[in-house]
Symmetry: C2
Subunit: 218 residues, 2 copies
Amino acid sequence: MKTNRKNKVIIVDDHLLFSQSLKFLINSFSDFEVTHNFGNGKEFIQFLQEEENLDIEVDLILLDVNMPILDGLSTMVWLKENRPDYKVIALSVNNEEDIIIQMIKNGAKGYLLKDTTPQIFYDALKTVIEKGYFFTEMVSGILVNRIDNEDKKLEFKEKELDFIKRACSEKTYKEIADEMCLSPKTIDGYRESIFAKLEIKTRIGLVLYAIKNKIVCV
Amino acid sequence: MKTNRKNKVIIVDDHLLFSQSLKFLINSFSDFEVTHNFGNGKEFIQFLQEEENLDIEVDLILLDVNMPILDGLSTMVWLKENRPDYKVIALSVNNEEDIIIQMIKNGAKGYLLKDTTPQIFYDALKTVIEKGYFFTEMVSGILVNRIDNEDKKLEFKEKELDFIKRACSEKTYKEIADEMCLSPKTIDGYRESIFAKLEIKTRIGLVLYAIKNKIVCV
DNA sequence: ATGAAAAAGGGGAAAATTCCCCTTGCTATA
DNA sequence: TATAGCAAGGGGAATTTTCCCCTTTTTCAT
């Protein structure tokens, strides 16, 4: 009996076509089976919270990063708090450093891109079950790189962030100052210190930075 | 024999995990089978061009829109020119109007989002084979909407686009003028006419528009 | 309690942006 | 062939942005 037990996998991904297909792929592995599919983090958490599912068997969770309603990161945060033993592999299409770091910080045991081959994917499942973690070279590289740059990271205060967001509009600094109930000169001070930090020279540069770093969304 | 013949499907998608999984799903349909997988448009076209593949059986192509090397739209353009009889269903994660319109203009018989259910997906395959096309309400809505707004659409000339791209940087207009070998005054003319068209008042507005409409990428 | 940052604000000026109105030369077309 | 349209370019001025150096007030850790 024991030797024949399959590892129970839960998929959380809003792309139904993907998750339903992935289920076939995983079920084709002799030692894994998909037991549940959820379309976003909220559905998944609600399921976990139901009385009758409190001691459900879960060997592995495949968690998509980009989802509506409740995304991968928020779900990961909840899991870290409430189900710290669950093993999670994060799935994503893009390798955005910050997200990868955040997911791992919150306990993800692996991070796979969706262009992974089925072979590597299988290795990842297997390795996470057996060793507890699986990281590709890409992810390891990012982790190492992050340690180097840890101190160099830029932080903004609330007011600065507020200013940056407002600067990403057609408003003049004077209008922004009025909105924030500050003197235009104070705003000019914010601007100048932010320009220095970011090594930029124009408001255009600020807008580009803000969008690139998702301080504002387009 | 004839009654047992399965429709031959080719998948072109760079997300290996997705395409390999999708293969399982499609093969689970009694009347479809996946014969080939390609990771981008170039691989696919090269395959089609090989001598021995000239009269290969292809009943349906599932073409991802976002791919590296050669994307879905470029591949569609090639197919329209060289294999106009092939039936293509475009696959994408996002419902960007412009891309949908372009794909359909170039002969796509269907446009599906990746969060489609397997049931609808199967219907789509079946319907495209039988009726020649399949469009969800979402796509139909966009098509109808597009007919309304056909005339309202904004067009830019090459030089204007070039200017807009350069304006999305920390360069001054004078520097842009130099780069484009035009007088600063001419650039100012471009700027003013574009501002009027877009109903904006500042260069910030232009940058936001350009990013939103993917004239430049972040 | 006090000295050192940090936040808020200011003067003044150069540079860049925005705006309006104008000239010239080319070309498409009725 | 006349003319309307458009691309290229210019004059000039009001605003806005950017920069540098300065003062006052608040906060905060020792």
